[in-house]
């Protein structure tokens, strides 16, 4: 079964996916809300930027992140000037990379969910003197619940499978930045197919169960909505 090193990598992977998902839900909510309701001329530009990680090879993201996090780069330079430690090869660095990498998987379902609510429930609440925050938390958020479930699970599952970005900025440090996909790659490259099988099977089952959860629960939500 899994070796101690593989188990550590599994824990790191789950932690990374969990932290990334929480950050993405927090950042993604206002962004998706704005995208769902805005008629601003810059909206298509933001839409396109949010969708970019869907089509870009992760190595492109990783490459730019590596340059940006380095001492000459925008983020790395900033960190250095405020006296903070650089972010490459750290768990925090991986979280930043994963947030960008999984952004569309969280923002797009939320955006669709918010758009699906339409204006009428919110306008009705407004006539009952509900303030904007009240309207958001009592009307929009509960109605967008299936969207949140899809967003959370897709964001989590997509981060589980992250490889290219981590390969570029992770540095493969056990217990800190060595995630499961990298561990599998190492096993395959060093011809240890038995271990590669064990770890791959864990990831396969985990991903399947997560996706199954989304589809089963979403079906139930839809039935309730009808």
């Amino acid at each position: 079964m899994l070796t101690a090193a593989d188990t550590t990598a599994l824990v790191i992977t789950l932690q990374l996916a969990a932290v990334t998902t929480v950050v993405l839900l927090l950042v993604g909510t206002p962004l998706a809300w704005w995208l769902a309701r805005s008629h601003s001329p810059v909206k298509p530009v933001i839409d396109a930027i949010v969708a970019l990680p869907l089509v870009l090879p992760p190595t492109v993201l990783g490459f730019y992140l590596l340059l940006a996090l380095g001492p000459e780069g925008a983020i790395g330079g900033l960190m250095e000037s405020i006296g903070a430690k650089p972010l490459a090869f750290t768990f925090t660095g991986l979280v930043i990379g994963s947030v960008i990498y999984s952004l569309p998987f969280v923002v797009q379902p939320l955006q669709d969910a918010f758009a699906g609510i339409g204006r009428r429930p919110l306008e009705a609440a407004a006539t009952l003197r509900a303030g904007p925050l009240d309207r958001f938390f009592s009307i929009a958020l509960p109605l967008a619940r299936p969207g949140y479930l899809t967003a959370a699970v897709l964001g989590f599952a997509h981060t589980l499978g992250e490889f290219g970005v981590v390969l570029m900025i992770g540095g493969n440090i056990p217990g800190s930045t060595q995630v499961l996909s990298i561990a599998i790659y190492d096993h395959v490259e060093s011809l240890q197919y038995g271990q590669a099988h064990a770890v791959s099977a864990v990831l396969l089952v985990l991903s399947f169960v997560l996706l199954l959860t989304v589809y089963v629960l979403n079906r139930r939500f839809r039935v309730i909505r009808l």
Binding site: L69, G70, P71, P86, G171, N172, G175
Partner: protein, 257 residues
């Protein structure tokens, strides 16, 4: 007019289809660290013989997997001796063709001109945050780096500060981009890079690790392939100029300071 276009089209299709059958293309698969050196040797070979050489670069492990799955290469120049030996034993390489074409050497490099001292004592200090090496499980240069650090007695204490590239190229790039302060890289890399080697170096003595024997094998027994290997053996100066040792000889002049 239309007929001419059609004829041209058919002709080009026919040319494309028949191309690989008649061309005497020579394909050399090479471990990424030796690719620059090989490019120079191949250019000389082409100028000498008119025989074009196609270079396929990759990691030794990936190229090995491609070869056992039928990749059409004539020659394989690996970064280690293990994979060529496996290929020979498994019958994918021509028996008796295996030879050591270069011995790899390590240097400790930092772009910072003051960080690395001539004896590499910096490795035992806290003057840096990350040291980049190649993955010891995957790359022969990584294994040599691990042996060196173990011999220096710092392997355990550096745990958590060692970042691993999947190959020596990535380890080099971690240092070149400034994300790691220093790295144990191949001596050939700064010499082959388009960037002039700047900063500080410690040339790791060959006695610090098992020799990094880079071996090659013949995969297809053709006249062109044999001619290329003979040509390569007759070019030791190019190999040494790129920072490699020749098997059985140590050189120390690559980074005279």
């Amino acid at each position: 007019m239309r007929r001419i276009v059609l004829q041209l089209l058919l002709y080009s299709i026919a040319a494309t289809l028949s191309g690989p059958l008649y061309a005497t293309e020579l394909r050399v698969a090479v471990a990424a660290n030796f690719a620059e050196t090989l490019t120079e040797i191949a250019a000389r070979f082409e100028a000498d013989t008119g025989q074009p050489v196609t270079i396929i670069r990759g990691s030794t492990g990936k190229l090995y997997a491609q070869i056992i799955n039928g990749a059409p290469f004539d020659i394989f120049l690996a970064a280690d001796s293990r994979r060529p030996e496996l290929l020979e034993n498994e019958g994918y390489a021509i028996t008796g063709s295996r030879f050591t074409y270069a011995a790899g050497r390590l240097v400790l490099w930092s772009p910072d001109p003051d960080l690395v001292d001539v004896d590499g004592k910096v490795l035992a200090s806290n003057d840096f945050r990350f040291l980049a090496i190649a993955n010891p499980r995957l790359a022969p240069y990584g294994e040599a780096a691990r042996q060196t650090l173990e011999k220096l007695g710092v392997w355990e204490s550096l745990r958590g500060r060692i970042v691993q590239g999947e190959n020596i190229g990535q380890a080099y790039q971690f240092v070149a981009s400034g994300n790691a302060s220093l790295g144990l890289i191949a001596r050939s890399q700064p010499l082959s890079s388009s960037l002039a080697p700047a900063g500080s170096f410690w040339e790791v003595p060959a006695s610090m690790h098992e020799p990094i024997m880079q071996q090659g094998v013949l995969l297809e027994d053709t006249q062109h392939a044999r001619a290329f290997l003979d040509f390569m053996r007759a070019q030791p100066a190019v190999i040494v100029a790129h920072g490699y040792d020749l098997p059985g000889q140590n050189t120390h002049n690559a980074y005279s300071r």
